[in-house]
């Protein structure tokens, strides 16, 4: 799976509200995709679309800044509009972004492969630079 190439310093929330906060359970970089580990005090960790554990595939949000384990972390939720880059487009206009099989990453749905549990993150805007978040965790693995 070829993830979108994101630059942490470019990540920015463009609309108010639609954010949540928690405590990081791992080192997290702005723009990374998160899940909530209910087995570890609800800490926020990096989601992984081919994890064997359903909870790890259940996207909670997208990190809006960097944090190390034990530090407060704010994330974008469904409804948020997140700038992914100030440079060139990270993906095609209108592309659907999904959680990657690389922990914390996001990728175009066209990269989806057999065995991946599809979790839609949202769609890129007409510039290919802004993600409108709309998380949908299917819980279904892509068949071979």
């Amino acid at each position: 799976m070829s993830d979108y190439s994101l630059t942490a310093s470019h990540i920015k929330l463009l609309n108010r509200g639609n954010t949540g906060e928690g405590i990081a359970g791992a080192t997290v970089t702005a723009g990374q995709v998160l899940y909530e580990d209910t087995a570890d005090a609800n800490k926020l960790k990096l989601a992984d679309a081919n994890s064997a554990t359903a909870a790890v595939r259940a996207v909670k949000g997208i990190a809006l800044h960097g944090a190390s384990a034990g530090q407060p972390l704010r994330y974008a939720k469904t409804g948020a509009r997140v700038r992914l880059t100030t440079g060139s487009a990270v993906g095609a206009a209108g592309a659907t972004a999904i959680a990657s099989t690389n922990a914390g990453g996001m990728a175009p749905i066209t990269d989806n492969a057999a065995g991946t549990y599809v979790t839609v993150l949202g769609t890129l805007d007409s510039t290919g630079k802004i993600l409108t978040c709309a998380f949908t965790t299917s819980g279904v693995a892509t068949p071979a």
Binding site: S9, T19, E21, A30, H65, G66, A67, A69
Partner: protein, 139 residues
């Protein structure tokens, strides 16, 4: 002049720590002292600039780039290190000319006197008590 050596990845909320959120006006790293503008923008605090820049309100608890949310502790204890003391137990931490950095009070040699807090019983944690005097230190 030697700033307390703080490793960003080791900074964390400690006992009684409470924090607020602001928007970073520049790149800020966990453990840096910050001031916050009326518009809610957090910047690295320094005693070598304007009085407003010396009005430290707390310490960043995570890292952020420009326009990203940044949590800052304003009361309670902040863990600054886990591997050893960052300074002498009971040291008073103040602002200095290096924006965002914390220095022992004995190092002051000019600029606004702003106390950020004191190192706790292990020398690894900062007990926050921000106090911006608005007074320029004069030898």
């Amino acid at each position: 002049m030697t700033a307390f050596t703080i490793t960003a990845a080791q900074v964390a909320p400690g006992s009684g720590c409470q924090w607020k959120w602001a928007t970073a006006g520049e790149t800020i790293t966990a453990g840096m002292a910050v001031y916050v503008t009326e518009g809610g923008v957090a910047m690295k605090a320094t005693n070598g600039g304007t009085e407003a820049q010396a009005e430290c309100v707390g310490v960043a608890l995570a890292s952020a780039n420009l326009d990203q949310p940044i949590p800052y502790a304003y009361t309670g204890t902040v863990v600054l290190a886990t591997g050893g003391a960052v300074g002498i137990i009971g040291d008073i931490a103040i602002l200095f000319t290096t924006a965002g950095s914390l220095y022992p009070a004995l190092d002051i040699s000019g600029g606004y006197t702003t106390v950020v807090g004191a190192l706790g019983a292990t020398g690894q944690e900062l007990i926050l008590a921000p106090f911006a005097s608005g007074i320029v230190w004069t030898d």
